[in-house]
Symmetry: D3
Subunit: 286 residues, 6 copies
């Protein structure tokens, strides 16, 4: 019996995707005109391509290739994945928007597409994750290794990551095998979502929607960082953090105290307020 | 007077080395069959080689080469070192075993050989260290620089490192000139074994056998981390840590207190228990 | 009215620059003679060049190039910048001296020029910064991206950096858009000079002359680290630090107390004493 | 009115194409097993691909790329052409068969696919010709230039070439803009199908079906080499050659004389008999 | 006594050079707009450069580089030569005009600049010749070797070559050490200007102004091909050829006979008439 | 019973080899000193190596590598062959001497080693031939293909070639599968030793000791060019040429006539006299 639903069509470009791609091309065209020295780069990475998926596949293929993993092989792999799985493309678009909206240093969509190692590592991870789910694990791990070498971002291909993610600066991020990251999360550089030891199984953090994790925070074990929680820079977190609370320090404590912690805005992962908790952080006495 | 000992023969392959190499080839063959897209890579890095030392030399040569330090030069350098010094080979085998046994995300020996930047950086360091001891310092330092660029792992070529080492994730590890690391040690990413200032001489930490150092720990100065000690993630350690105790926090304190610190298992570097001390860490109050 | 000053001449080589370049060539010649395996590298990067600016441009061009940003383009860009702006050259010389004088592991000027990723990232940043000031922002950001990929050092091209800077080890350093770093500052690896959120404007730290910032310190917001102050390794600093005081811990506190903090030597950025404050850091109780 | 013809479908693989591709894979598999040093190459060029068009596109993309024309761009271009135009694929198959059947040194189809510069240059030319017909002339000429550099085979993209062509050895072949080559032609190395001067228009030779042209023959002007004719090695031909006759010498004369030239076999381009005319070549008197 | 002449200034761009460069940029801009796939290439090789000498230096540097002779080194070498010696630039312009005017397949100046291996080999030779005259012979010979490898054009760096030269197709051209080629000469592919044996000294042909040499002609020994002479394709010439006569055949004879050879147009090197002598070539009897 | 012969030892360096290698190093050292721009190249290809076999293996590995056949693989292959088979080394030395003694343009041994494509193609062919004899045919053919692409020299790996060979200029040389070339032969560029058709078996020329073959000569079929014979440039030879006679023309005739051909010097392959026969070549009538 017909469902009445439109046939799934992996190659349909959504309006949103189309709009972002049009922005990217317009930005690249403007930059190519104003800066001839960069025009060749902008044409090869963006302006010569007919779609975001082709541009991204080309760029990742050339960034991640090595003398033993050729760019043509990687390009093929990426293009296949991005062409056949529309959710990869919508996630990329959501991540582009996240960088553009949350990071004041992000001056354009094309700037993020070309230069943000966190964005690029995340998109490449999504493809590695797809391969992992397809039981193509050796290939997923080889891709993982290239991402870790090239971007110094080490996300295990089994880790599950939502949409609208900003890995800001990104260098040194480590995300373990059984970690899960929700939607609209912002994670700064040097953040670890690590395990607890040598026993396998579910052993890494679960990060709720809208969470903000400051630079250098270390979160270890199969614990829950609740929706909209905030983890201060440099914190070491080994126990669950309740939703919409802030954990700071080493070892981390809740701002406002364990019993009646302060509650803050709903989606710090989007509002990106890193430092509002200072006045409440009683020990802080410089 | 004859000693009755067999003549030293640098090219003898030990049983252990032979067994691991056979495993690696079997794993690579299986993966090449199941994943044609990776077969070329597996043949070039593993299956076309007649020994672990050739495979490793090829892989490191191609990973670490640049436009001014050619792969053929580095390959030659590595092959020479691994062929002539059997202790380099046995250390590599011990490190492969360490990763396979301690890291639940390490699914095979070949996975470690191909993809673990900590493993690869460590083997390349061992060769840089050999060059350093042979007073070929400019070459040792050039190699050191390539390792730091490619893997974001910065181990001074003079640092002495034991066997059975796991550098897990490895990005951001810094090990200073006069540091010493014992056997069966596990060190997570972003760990610093740093110096104390601009005066030369012996100024970096000494890490005893079986120590476990958590992610992002900073250990500074010519201090001793005793056998089987544990340093918690994110800790800042500036004073000796007694054997089989746990130091946590910034500044680090001993779990259980300075006077009667808790004692734990003998070899945390092997058991890899990162978080068991939580309940005893009194300040930790989320 | 004539000033009586000599006309500015961008191609004049200062005595200091000439002396350092002569040292570098002598060191490279000595190393090339003693180590034939490295001679080719030393000739291509140093000995074949007629000036420090050419050597540095060549080296950076080859280090930072990619398949889509060719070495010839980058070489041209660097050579243009270093040739036309003498302050870039004098800053490079001051940075070479800083490494040579402050880092006991720095055995020669050529060692720093060739191998110090902090030095190289900083010189490349200076050129990116020049491009930024010339409103060639897309090019500045593309260069920024290459520096972040290759050296894992992420300095926004708008950030202003003085002379005589030592980025020691350098991996993982992040410096935000509106950060300012004075002269004679020493910054260890994994240091973050970060922002406070998603609002633009002046939002990053200002680091006074002669400051020393230890490994892994995180300094966030538009705060002032006063002249000659010291920030301990792993500290998290969110409030101004007065001149010539030491802030340590997470959250950071002043050594000696908030009211009457201890004062130390004038230029810790030069004296590089990382650990002298330990005895005064009362909580430190291993 | 329906034609009764099957719909054109560019991605249908013909039986013939499928058979040859199966042969190639079987040969490559056999060779990879017997020669581990070559296995990586065989997997990357043949065994990792799902079709002849992908293998050929990969191989040509990697052979013809340069630092300014990247392999990913060329791969895309070739794959697009071979995927969308089945006549390109059937011509490639016919050329593979021609080499295999006519050249006793051609030991396998995969040998031709991988190693015959004449075969590879011809397939790349067919794509350049397609671009030319699509009025994408600058791209066609850039591809032409790469073919001429890499293979020393210089076929103008406008030249029209039939199927079942063997360019044996191929180095030094030059084919001008208005030249036409029929089906089942064999052309040895250093053969020129050249023009007559600086006036444009139709000015290059037309080579009939089944023609054989010996090494180093120079054929100039808008003349006709009739079906099944033979041109001896080293000949210089400036006037039409009648079908199934043999022209030899410099200047070329017909074997058997102008009035009653000897007739030979029908398709020398297939029978490849280079020297049977010797006894009739009266001047030949060593 | 002052001459009243303007001082020589090597960086002055002549009107002619400026006009051709403007044409080239306009052509490249038009092609980049119509063909996005080629735009990156056109920007990197032409449109990002401020002068013909920079574009040519970039293009040659990237074409001729190898893993042991880096593009940056060659770029520097070419740019130095073209910048300091205006005669190199005017010769390049004259050669561009020669191709554009004489070769009906040459559709634009940029087509010649980018794609004509004869043009590129000749400009690179001019730089090698400059090095030779400066007694930098090992470097001249290394460059010679790269030209011979990459373009299959083998011109000894000591050979002297005039202006307005067209090496059409160019593959296989060999020009010996003591050869001299005048102005406005056109030489087809596979032409040899060779020596006579193993004795040194002046032993190669001298080619007068305006000469046209057909494909595959072999001219051996210290003989004179007089001004405006024509050598037919495939000819073997071992004796002087008088001005404005035509030598054809193997061994070559004068068209019209030794005693009263036919005279033709003044500058066949420009008129490019390859075949007009046929009717007079009495032996030619197909 | 002992033979009295010294044991075969593949790694013994003969006096001759040692002497030539010492010359090469001395020449390279002199050139590196006088030309800093070339010093890097000279160190990487010659001065950093401990033996001729290592230098040659490095140079060939880097010249012949491609993105799918890595330099490390080829280097290994060459080094293995040259180390294990002393006859390859003595042939290389004999060929170096041949170039140095017979070619007045050959200014030094190192010039030949670095720059002579004929020399390099011949040494690489010798290794391909060794592989062929060891029944490693796919690898031999892959190497053959690289030599043909890179040097435009196409020698079938089965062809047997003696010692003291000079392939002068070399571009375009084609040598078929069953060809045999004796000792002390000199062969100019564009020479073909070709077959006769599509039937397999012994079908290519046999070239006696001391033969000289001029540029562009085409020799076809299983014929004998007798010891010390000379083949003029551009000749087409299809019948045996007796020892110490000269064949010239197209078709070739014997100088002096078929019945009583002129006899010349014993070893024209060494004396290299290309043109002495002119006066006797009666048809030659310019």
């Amino acid at each position: 019996m017909p469902t009445g639903l439109p046939a799934a069509n992996s190659s349909v470009v959504t309006d949103d995707e189309g709009w972002v791609w049009a922005q990217i091309k317009a930005e690249a065209r403007r930059d190519a005109e104003s800066e001839p020295a960069l025009a060749s780069y902008l044409y090869s990475t963006i302006l010569s391509h007919s779609s975001l998926e082709r541009s991204l596949s080309f760029h990742l293929g050339n960034k991640l290739c090595s003398s033993t993993l050729l760019s043509t092989l990687l390009y093929d792999l990426f293009l296949n994945a991005f062409s056949s799985d529309p959710s990869l493309r919508s996630a990329a678009v959501a991540d582009l928007r996240a960088a553009r909206e949350r990071d004041p240093a992000c001056v354009s969509y094309s700037h993020c597409l070309l230069n943000y190692k966190g964005f690029l590592a995340c998109q490449a991870h999504r493809v590695a994750h797809l391969l992992w789910r397809q039981s193509r694990r050796p290939l997923a791990l080889a891709l993982h290794s290239r991402i870790a070498d090239v971007f110094a971002v080490d996300i295990h291909p089994a880790a599950r990551i939502g949409k609208g993610i900003l890995f800001d600066h990104a260098t040194g991020v480590v995300v373990g095998e059984t970690a899960v990251i929700g939607n609209n999360v912002s994670i700064l550089h040097h953040v670890t979502l690590g395990g607890t030891g040598k026993v396998g199984g579910d052993r890494h953090p679960k990060i709720g929607d809208g969470v903000l994790i400051g630079a250098g925070a270390t979160i270890l074990g199969n614990i829950m960082i609740g929706e909209g929680a905030k983890v201060g820079a440099g914190s070491v977190v080994l126990i669950d953090v309740p939703p919409r609370t802030t954990a700071v320090g080493n070892p981390a404590r809740l701002v406002g105290g364990k019993e009646k912690p302060s509650r803050h805005e709903d989606v710090p992962g989007e509002s990106m307020d890193h430092t509002s908790f200072i006045s409440e952080w009683s020990d802080y006495i410089i």
